[in-house]
Each structure stands twice: as structure tokens, then as C-alpha cells.
């Protein structure tokens, strides 16, 4: 068992989003967090990855509380949020170089390969604001291929992608799971992965809590 949350509780503005939330995810598993708009999926994911400290409960990585091993955990975790984390005045290449460097490596060949795989050949050196919404999203997703994280935490990764993009990303997620990764994700679209998916539904949880 690699990543676990025990007895998580979070409230926002006096409204309990979830309480007594327990789950764990091991290598090879995919966990989908479901729930209606405003049910707390993003909040949960940000708590898990360490961006939101307003919770009670325990989150552990390889048996250790993540709060004590922040840097190690960050090295093994990849988070993709609602916002793309792409500077629009920089080119995809420059954006991804910085991402790599901030994770302690440099590998231009891999960046070019990642961009090619996402269908952005020819766009490596144009500033990102000159791209469409979906293309910007793809630059952001290229980091998935560069990061060598074991745990992926993806918040609505399919946003703005066209049909082909969605299918490819689903394939990548399934492949990651098969290769021993662990994925926690949210999405409102009907996932079609050819690997088993566990589901946590925050709506029913809330129902229980209320």
C-alpha cells in the first residue's frame, strides 16, 4: 500500500464537504473521485497533494505522514489542477524545460518527444497564448510524460481536449496503471479505461455525513 488517507475531514464555510473519509490506493490502481459540482473533489485533491492544509485526518505515503516528508512526496507525486500551470508568454519548450529543472533534471529530447506525442509538432517554439484552449491543455499534459512520478493526481484532465485527445489520455492513464503507477482523478465525463477503476462518490458520502 503506497498512499492512504485516514479519517479525512474538511469543511468550508461551515459546510462539511466530507468526513470520516478513508481510502488507500496501491500501485496499479485507478481511483476516480466522483461528485456533483461543488461537492468537494477539487478540495480533496488539493488536500491530498499538499496545497490545502485546512483539513483534519492523516495522509500517508509509504507509511509516513506526508507532512513530514514533503520533498520526497513531491518527488513522487504529480498534480494537474484546473489551471494549466503554463506561462502563456513562454513557448511550450521553455515551459517544459523549467518544469524539468524544477524537478531536478534536464532532457530536451524527452520534451520534444512528449510534445510530438501530444500532437504539438511545429508548436514547440511559439508562445502559448497563440494556441487554442485545447492546445494549451496539451502542453500542460506533456508534463505527464516527463514526470517520473508514481502517483498522479489529476483534476479534470480531459477538459478542453477533443475526442482523439480524450482517447489518447485514457490510454495513457491505463498504461500508467498497468506499469505500476497509481492514479487519482476526477472527471465529469464517462471514463472508458481498459483497467479497473475504483470510485469514491463524495455526494453519497456527504449524504452519510449530514
Amino acid at each position: 500500500m503506497m498512499f492512504a488517507a485516514t479519517n479525512l475531514f474538511c469543511e468550508r464555510d461551515e459546510r462539511v464537504l466530507f468526513s470520516h473519509l478513508d481510502f488507500s490506493i496501491a500501485a496499479g490502481e485507478v481511483l476516480q473521485v466522483q461528485g456533483a459540482n461543488g461537492s468537494g473533489k477539487t478540495t480533496l485533491l488539493r488536500i491530498l497533494c499538499g496545497l490545502n492544509p485546512d483539513y483534519s485526518g492523516e495522509i500517508s505515503w509509504a507509511g509516513q505522514d506526508v507532512q513530514n516528508i514533503r520533498e520526497t512526496f513531491n518527488r513522487h507525486m504529480f498534480y494537474l489542477g484546473h489551471s494549466p500551470a503554463i506561462n502563456k508568454t513562454l513557448t511550450p519548450l521553455q515551459n517544459l524545460r523549467w518544469y524539468c529543472a524544477s524537478h531536478g533534471f534536464s532532457d530536451d529530447a524527452a520534451i520534444f518527444m512528449a510534445l510530438a506525442e501530444l500532437g504539438l509538432v511545429g508548436y514547440e517554439n511559439i508562445p502559448c497564448y497563440q494556441m487554442s484552449a485545447g492546445q494549451q491543455r496539451r502542453v500542460s499534459l506533456a508534463r505527464l510524460l516527463l514526470a517520473q512520478a508514481q502517483l498522479w493526481i489529476l483534476d479534470e484532465p480531459f477538459t478542453a481536449l477533443d475526442k482523439q485527445g480524450v482517447t489518447e489520455l485514457e490510454g495513457r492513464i491505463a498504461a500508467k496503471a498497468k506499469a505500476g503507477g497509481a492514479i487519482i482523478l476526477t472527471t465529469h465525463h464517462a471514463l472508458q479505461l481498459n483497467c479497473p477503476v475504483r470510485v469514491i462518490n463524495l455526494d453519497t458520502l456527504i449524504g452519510a455525513a449530514k
Partner: protein, 231 residues
Amino acid sequence: MKSQRRTLNTTACLCAGLQRELLLALRSPGNTINPLMFFIIAVSLFPLGGGADTAYLSSIAPGVIWVTALLAVMLSMESLFRSDYEDGSLEQLLLSPQPLYFQLLAKVFGHWLVTGLPLVLLTPLLGLMLSLPVAGYMPLMLGLLLGTPTLNLIGAIGMALTVGLSRSGLLLAVLVLPLSIPVLVFGAGVVDAALNGLPVAGLLAVLGAILALALSLAPLAIGAALRISVN
């Protein structure tokens, strides 16, 4: 093409952060020139508003140059975290496995290199325009050289606190401007002392000490503030 992953040490990572700041400045070359233009124009306003009498100008010169330098630095800070916050890069910075302290230091230093340093180098020209006596140039530049990085660091704290939500924007005024007053007082004091033939080493040492303090503590404050802001 075969992937050849090269591991980088911390220094190399910091250099990459620095490089990104410089790249961002380079992407819109106006951003390096505009603070300077602002500096020049704002300084030129004083003779226009107050009168062009040389004695009058040289009497206000140290104060005016320092105030406008502060303003130029503070305005240039606006861009430091804003876009990173809005596009989510800040989250990634906070989640990166490299030490945040040094990453932030690299970021602020990069910002100073492209806005603060040229401003210092431009000062003699403005001194000329305001008829600053010759004895004032060196102290003015040395003071700015020690003072602007401090102003950058203080401004970065304010920006980090306010970048998240405009509702806390009050903090920028309440926190940052009062904090930078000591720098201004000592900075303008250095020039005044020099013009009156007094020793300036002590005052410069104070500015240096403030800078050392800011260098060691500000990144911690910035980091903490950013963690609050992204939440």
C-alpha cells in the same frame, strides 16, 4: 532522438529558475525598458511641477530619486507572482521537490537583475537632470545598489500575500510601504550626509545589514505567504 535524462544539482535548478525569469523579461523587452522609462518620466515630472530652479532641484534630488525608485520597484513587483498565480505555475513551484527558499531567492534575484539593476545604472542620468551635486552620485548609487534588492524582497512579501485575493489587498499598503520606509530614510540619508560632507560608511552599513536581514528572512515569509495564497 533518444531521451537522455541528465540529473541537475540544486544550483543548476536555481539557474533554470533564474533563466526563466530572464526569459520572461526578454519575451517582452518592454518590461525591462518600461520601469526605467517610468523612472525617468516620473523624475522628470518634479521639475515640471515644482519649477526648474537649479538650487531647488538639487535640494529635492535625493528624496525624489529615492521615492521614484521605490515606486518603480513596487510597480514592477506587480508582475512577479501575478501570472504564475493565475496560470497555476505557483502551485507547481510549491509542489516542486527543490528547496522553496532558494527557488524564491532565485526568482526575486532574477527580477532584480532585470528591473532593479538597470534602474541603479540609470541613476546618474537622473542625477544630472536634477542637478545633483557631484559628491552625491556615488553615495546615491551605492545606496540604491544595497537598497533596491531589499525593496524587491519586501515587495515580494507583499505581493505574495496579496496575489491570492484582492480582498486582502489592504495588506500591501499597510505592510509593504511602511516596511520600506527605513530603506528610504537611510538611502536618502546617505546622499544627504555625503552632500553635507559627513561620513556615509555607517549609513551604508545599515543598508547592507537590512539587506542581509531581508535576504535571510524574506524568502521564508514569501514562501509562507504563497502557501496561504494558493490555498
